[in-house]
Subunit: 151 residues, 2 copies
Amino acid sequence: MKGPWWQQRLCDYGFRLTNPRAMIIGILRNTEKHLSAEEIYIDAVKINPSIGLTTIYRTLDLFTQIGVVQKFDFGDGRARYELTNNPLKKDHHHHLVCVKCKTIIDYTDFVHEELELMNKTEKALSRKYRFNIYHHTVHFYGICSQCQREG
Amino acid sequence: MKGPWWQQRLCDYGFRLTNPRAMIIGILRNTEKHLSAEEIYIDAVKINPSIGLTTIYRTLDLFTQIGVVQKFDFGDGRARYELTNNPLKKDHHHHLVCVKCKTIIDYTDFVHEELELMNKTEKALSRKYRFNIYHHTVHFYGICSQCQREG
DNA sequence: TTAATTGCAAACGGTTTGCATGGGC
DNA sequence: GCCCATGCAAACCGTTTGCAATTAA
């Protein structure tokens, strides 16, 4: 085979389980959470203690660029990643964020209605701007009830 | 007057123009851009050379919490701020982001339709979760046409 | 005279980079 | 042998914090 591994077809990755790519995909496949690079690293070390955090970052960056994983920013100062089309995930990224205490609420209200519009918008934007769109986020920012009470 | 300045009514701020609050509001009022803390600092230094970056951060954080400014994260590693209800701004935060070259496109398509749904959702979420919502963002992530071409 | 505000420098924390080593065709 | 991949340590960079000094009421 010629060229770096990620330019080859993704489905025929024939590497060992201790391989960074295999580990990261495996870890992300088995969780419903949004894992940070460090959380993935902690899990990866259990499989292959000699892996480095740098490799995790580099692999995740590549995966993000080729669309295998999605990178999210929840405003807590660290990026979070999840596998594209993970069947375990409901895959809705609609959040209520408190700008004071940084609490994040995953809301599920109106998601159906929103998704309908989002998908329609996504299609139209893809066409118009020739973007290959992987995912979207909807964030509402404000003050939670707790913080309102505390003035 | 008793208590810290920000617990007093905001409209009667009677401080000098070299005061951090006055400078930041003035700077944000006169731009259509999303400024980062450092960009605001650079402008502020022109008015009052003795101001420190720390004060900019602290003031912006307070302004964000009391709703005077809105804090945005565009994924470029630095926070960006803008004045709430700035008449210079169209105030729509709907973006297309390329995960490869980090290009950001402000799209205006479907904004009317989206805003309608967003406002409806905002009202319902406010009520249900007792959130005092200031603003929202809609982000689509993917690969731009340029980056698709470059493989 | 008491509390709030500020600037400086240092710390912090997540991420990136330089570089030398190691591994796979 | 030649890329490519990897780990380590150090650098990076936006942001936060400790603290002493200053300012405002």
